[in-house]
Assembly symmetry: C2
């Protein structure tokens, strides 16, 4: 849906780029750490889903924090803008360069060591380029859980997860990425290294600087390593898919479940019927789990260190009480791991199914949980008025108030015509979100995708504060410029 912000093919490189920038960088990282061939650079220039395409004179792949810092120092001295890149799986165009070819990409691909696991402290020290799934597995190998879990976990890197304060399907229990970070190592925009790799759960010795970098999308520095918090590995899980007639019933069921199961609730995903239909249409092995069709579903999963089937009993008792109260219409509790996996395939098949269904309008929004139902009602009605035939398509992390509100074009509509409605649809959705006290980006970030919407939805004071922070740490605006904020700080 998106096109690159700049369409010019002109390169804005300084004339002595080869000698002043590239040669000194090559001297640091060697030929193995430097890609300048356009074909080889291609995967670093493009986003996997959303069509951002950029250009760059070089992709640099340092193999140590010191080498990365030395590269950044050269960029700082020569005012060469930098795009930090991890697994390049983000959804907002934050990790690809702009199209003017002026920016160097610094990849963390080769910073991929697990430096230490401290079992009694429940922490693991990893480099930014470690693949999320590898971290999950390393934790599991020592009997621990690293609870960050999201669709891209097989290729996304922890540095990117940190830079975007990643969310995923277990935030309800374990929090966002921010909650899973005990310490950070960061290369600052002037090339200094900040060693904040402390494995502490409590540290009030001055400002908590790591918070500044988590979620800053690489605009304030490059995360090179982190101390991650591990959790006990659950011994039991219980999974159910239940049907409800409306999102407000799902919210009531969530409140009920929290009262009984508390932190055992790991997942509470709301799914509109249309999402199941679309997933089943385009993705193999997605089941239709209940005999009848219902307007809304909830995928709920409990987990506990306490083993045994008590967890399934607890889940069943919650659902029975929900049924008596009229919140739950029907449901199935998985009787086996295979059945649970099958229920999860419904949730996991939705993004792929949607991609194949036609033009869709993606919104990653959050509102207070108590207002999710109102948000859906108001937005569905407003969109139907503005774009008759548009098909509601909502799913997401109800437990966090985070809805992926992704309506799809009318069934036989002309894709080009529908694509032209993007700005209209965005404005309707986001106006209502913000009116309800919500966020226009719950977990994906701003990047370039939402950068021009920031002045509409953030107060001048808040935009100025963000610009103040950016200017303080990156006064020459070389660190991922044009992401989150425009170079002027606040306005496009």
């Amino acid at each position: 849906m998106q096109t690159s912000g700049q369409t010019s093919g002109q390169t804005a490189l300084r004339p002595d780029f080869e000698t002043a920038v590239l040669a000194p960088i090559r001297a640091i990282v060697g030929d193995r750490g430097l890609i300048t061939d356009p074909d080889t650079m291609k995967p670093f220039m493009e986003s996997w889903r959303d069509g951002w395409v950029g250009r760059s004179p070089a992709v640099v792949l340092p193999d140590s924090t010191e080498a990365l810092a030395a590269v950044v120092r050269i960029c700082a001295e020569t005012r060469t803008p930098i795009v930090p890149q991890g697994g390049n799986t983000g959804l907002t165009g934050a990790s690809q360069p702009h199209a003017d070819g002026s920016e160097i990409v610094i990849s963390t691909n080769r910073l991929n060591r697990i430096r230490e696991i401290d079992i009694d402290n429940d922490t693991m020290t990893v480099e930014a380029g470690c693949i999320l799934a590898n971290i999950q597995n390393a934790a599991r190998d020592v009997g621990r859980l690293f609870p960050m879990s999201l669709a891209a976990e097989g290729s996304c890197q922890i540095g990117g997860n940190i830079a975007t304060n990643a969310g995923g399907v277990q935030v309800l229990r374990y929090g966002n990425m921010r909650n899973l970070v005990a310490g950070l190592e960061v290369v600052l925009p002037d090339g200094r290294i900040w060693d904040g790799l402390r494995g502490l759960r409590k540290d009030n010795a001055g400002y908590d600087l790591k918070q500044i970098f988590i979620g800053s999308e690489g605009t304030l520095g490059i995360v090179t390593a982190a101390v991650l918090k591990l959790s006990p590995l659950p011994r039991a899980t219980a999974t159910a898919l239940v049907a409800v007639s409306a999102p407000s019933d799902a919210v009531d069921l969530l409140t009920r479940a929290k009262g009984v199961a508390g932190d055992r609730i790991v997942t509470f995903e709301l799914i509109q019927r249309a999402c199941i239909d679309v997933a089943r249409r385009h993705v193999p092995d997605v089941p239709d789990p209940l005999r009848d069709r219902y307007p809304w579903y909830v995928l709920v999963e409990l987990a506990d260190q306490d083993s045994g089937n008590r967890l399934a009993e607890m889940l069943e008792s919650i659902l029975e009480a929900g049924m008596e109260a009229g919140e739950v219409l029907d449901g199935v509790v998985a009787a086996s791991k295979a059945q649970a996996d099958s229920l999860w395939r419904i949730r996991e098949g939705i993004p792929e199914g949607q991609k194949r269904e036609g033009v869709s309008f993606k919104h990653d929004v959050s509102v207070p949980i108590s207002r999710v139902a109102r948000f859906l009602d108001r937005t569905d009605a407003a969109l139907e008025r503005a774009c008759p035939g548009i098909r509601p398509f909502s799913f997401g992390h109800l437990g966090d108030g985070n809805i992926h509100y992704n309506p799809i074009q009318a069934e036989d509509g002309d894709p080009a015509e529908w694509r032209a409605k993007l700005a209209t649809v965005n404005a309707i959705v986001h106006d209502i979100v913000v009116d309800l006290g919500g966020s226009i980006s719950a977990e994906h970030g701003i990047g370039r995708l939402r950068i021009d919407e920031m002045p509409r939805y953030k107060s001048p004071v808040e935009l100025e504060m963000m610009a103040t922070l950016k200017r303080a740490f990156d006064p020459h605006n070389i660190m991922n410029p044009g992401k989150i904020l425009h170079s002027s700080g606040v306005a496009p």
Copy 2:
């Protein structure tokens, strides 16, 4: 133990203070909102425990965010330094003015409304001056838990809890204050109001600005209101006091307990025998719970939404397994609420007992949990060499790696002589803490108490980053100056 940084009785007020500062402030807050009488100001000038005494020309008590902001604007225009103050229960001299009488105290005492409780969203919007215990009670009244819990809860204010990123006895399960804040309203050092009062669990729409203010000890702005996250109210608790022979056994028991009980572990407090003796000596109704004497104890509490006596069974099974493994020597599981309260009196009596026992050297430190035992061994040995006769006195939140390492002077030593050893003792303790990757202030903050130690224990890069942040948001250094950082930014 501490004396005010400046002993001069000279007042550094501008000559037109009355007309340029005080009169316009009186016009905003009225006589009810302004105290200038020295006797009435006295409680605002002193700390309750540590002997900080300051002077100020006025204490201002605005009754709304707008009024507070207007007062700050006057201070900003006239470059009048401000000391924000909540319940004035902090332990580092952060909330009292300096002795030179140049600083105005702005108290949040009258900002004490609970603005909203949103049950389905599990959030509560409160003003900064709300007493922590009142917030806990308001949550309980609607069947929710606000889990921040600490000794001063009957008089400390939530604004101060946020400004110091308070810890307490339930951090292991619920996190520090930072984890309990969904949104903030802050008056910036130039008097602008930032409305970040969003009740969201996920919000990645740009920099997460609230993180900057949490734990900044009022040096970057004044928190005036917050959206707090509530938790389900536990239906069952199980409490035990167990004896162990060494801290390393307590760590092993903690690891064991986490594997079985996971997030049910709310409290895991390590207590040295000397602490129990001293509490019993000076505080009524502190029991000696086990027949024999042991060198170390652990107070452990589990909590769960799931009612019934299964939790006690779980705790007993953990302790039995710990006993078989040789970690646990003896123990008692509370059979009633009254018994649990009695066990808690041991822990709660320690600070009071210590106060009455003589000169003590307080250190609020943290290290990785895996290094707590090493920290205690090394530090005890080093102190005994440097200050023969010093009595080890350690207790604290082992589950967070946070030890209150507070050795007491030799039994019959001269207090004045022992007081003179303060710098020596601090240096020994903090050198070892930092060598082990720890923090010189786990939960109390820096304030003035630790400000001069910052250059010794923080890297130049980290100090410069803190100064950068301070200068960016408070360029004229009027917001709680001389706390955390000296006015020059990095050096005393």
